[in-house]
Symmetry: C2
Subunit: 271 residues, 2 copies
């Protein structure tokens, strides 16, 4: 019977102080109703606002999506429904650096990962600017139109993000559509250009690939671009600079949401 730790993160000290004293019982009951057994109902960390961990175990037959549908009060996060947006010509490591960390996270925490694309056809990393470029093709799990509800959206960069084709336009539209319901948006490298074009970075601090700086920043004239940063967080938006910085921002995000211990454990495993 697989055992998981569901992490409850309070957005602020205020949210924690105001939190429903019945939250523990509420979650225990909700997980039980989904078919999971609560092993350790409540463990708190010393971070501020505190983070609560509930250890649960579930039969293999309990779909992990069910656990993700447990409702939590306002100001409390139980972020487990993660999606990654793919488009032709995304950069392999932009996506698979964070995905590797999230895959390992899923061994101990009830997270789901959806792979979203314009259609269900495999999406290639092949550079659209180089006719003979090598590439790998990844199979989506959902189309943009059939995307499940998401807590987190991850947007990789790549030469394909610079185009103006229908798949890029659809990707930008998806970001615009789902952003209001997201708890976190994470972009890697030139992935921030798609978020900028969707308008969701307006008024926010953000960063991007330094090698494409003027091209990308011009796409977001109302964004407060930060030139010198490996990654930047502004509220619920996390943007990173070049390709491998996507691994750093993924760890920073995991640490923020699931705690330092979980982030450390995964980082040591990936070393």
């Amino acid at each position: 019977m697989p055992e998981y730790t569901a992490t409850i993160r309070f957005y602020s000290l205020e949210a924690y102080q105001q939190h429903d004293p019945g939250l523990e019982q509420l979650l225990k009951k909700a997980f039980s109703q989904k078919g999971a057994t609560v092993c350790t109902p409540w463990m708190s960390t010393r971070s501020l606002p505190p983070m609560h961990n509930i250890r649960i175990s579930a039969m293999d037959s309990v779909p992990i999506e069910e656990l993700g549908q447990v409702k939590v009060p306002e100001g409390v996060a139980l972020p487990i429904r993660i999606g990654i947006l793919l488009y032709p010509g995304f950069q392999a490591l932009d996506a698979f650096g964070p995905l590797d960390a999230l895959n390992v996270l899923s061994w101990t925490h009830p997270v789901t990962l959806s792979i979203l694309a314009a259609s269900l056809d495999p999406v290639s990393t092949k550079s659209p600017r180089h006719a003979h470029a090598a590439g790998q093709s990844i199979v989506p799990t959902h189309t943009f139109a059939s995307a499940p509800p998401l807590d987190v959206l991850l947007v990789p960069g790549g030469l394909g993000s610079r185009g103006s084709g229908s798949e890029v336009a659809a990707a930008i539209q998806l970001i615009r559509d789902v952003y209001p319901s997201l708890k976190h948006l994470i972009t890697v490298c030139t992935g921030s250009s798609l978020a900028a074009r969707a308008g969701v970075l307006d008024g926010k601090r953000a960063t991007t690939n330094k090698m494409a700086w003027s091209e990308i920043t011009a796409l977001g004239p109302r964004v407060d671009w930060v030139a010198k940063a490996r990654w930047v967080r502004d509220g619920n938006v996390w943007t990173s600079s070049r390709v491998s910085a996507g691994i750093d921002v993924a760890f920073a995000w995991i640490e923020d949401v699931f705690g330092e211990e979980v982030a450390q454990r995964i980082a040591v495993g990936m070393e």
Copy 2:
């Protein structure tokens, strides 16, 4: 018209000193016969043994595979046919760290990348040890049975490599079969366990994931295991330690074969 640099690498100073003085003309002619134009016939580096670069350009219609079929004399490498071996439960970053570097390499150098698996069904990174694990599925380009001739084979690690199922057995057999014709074998993390089980590491220095050290090294009792190393090269075999060390070994290999300048340029782009 895309322009490439084909790098000719001599295995040893002896191979260079004995090399056919007609090699330059031979390659120029061979590339032309494949439909490519030789722009700069010969540029040598100061490394020892020297590396020669031929700048060629080819119409988009010239298949890159054709350029790879140019015959080179004994002791001379023109390594462009790269394959990666996938099996269910390979670790995402083990594969996509090196693949990202190779994708970028393919923008300027005529390399081909084949994705080999037991069948043409997409291969998932999903951990076989965790029922609810997240994973991504990659589309193979060839089966083990239909693998094209290869200069280089890349073997990622992952929890799936520890199994004894038919796909793992087939992967081990593939390594055993193709190793004699390879110019280089590169393994990442526990990928070395598959090479060890294929017997191709016998008598060689190699390394692997430190977290699975006793389990993996027991699979290769005749291997000279090196405990403290991010990566180890012994002749044409390159093995690396944990997941992200696969990126390091890929750069070390690119630097050795294509020169420091090319490796640096790709590393800066991926930063």
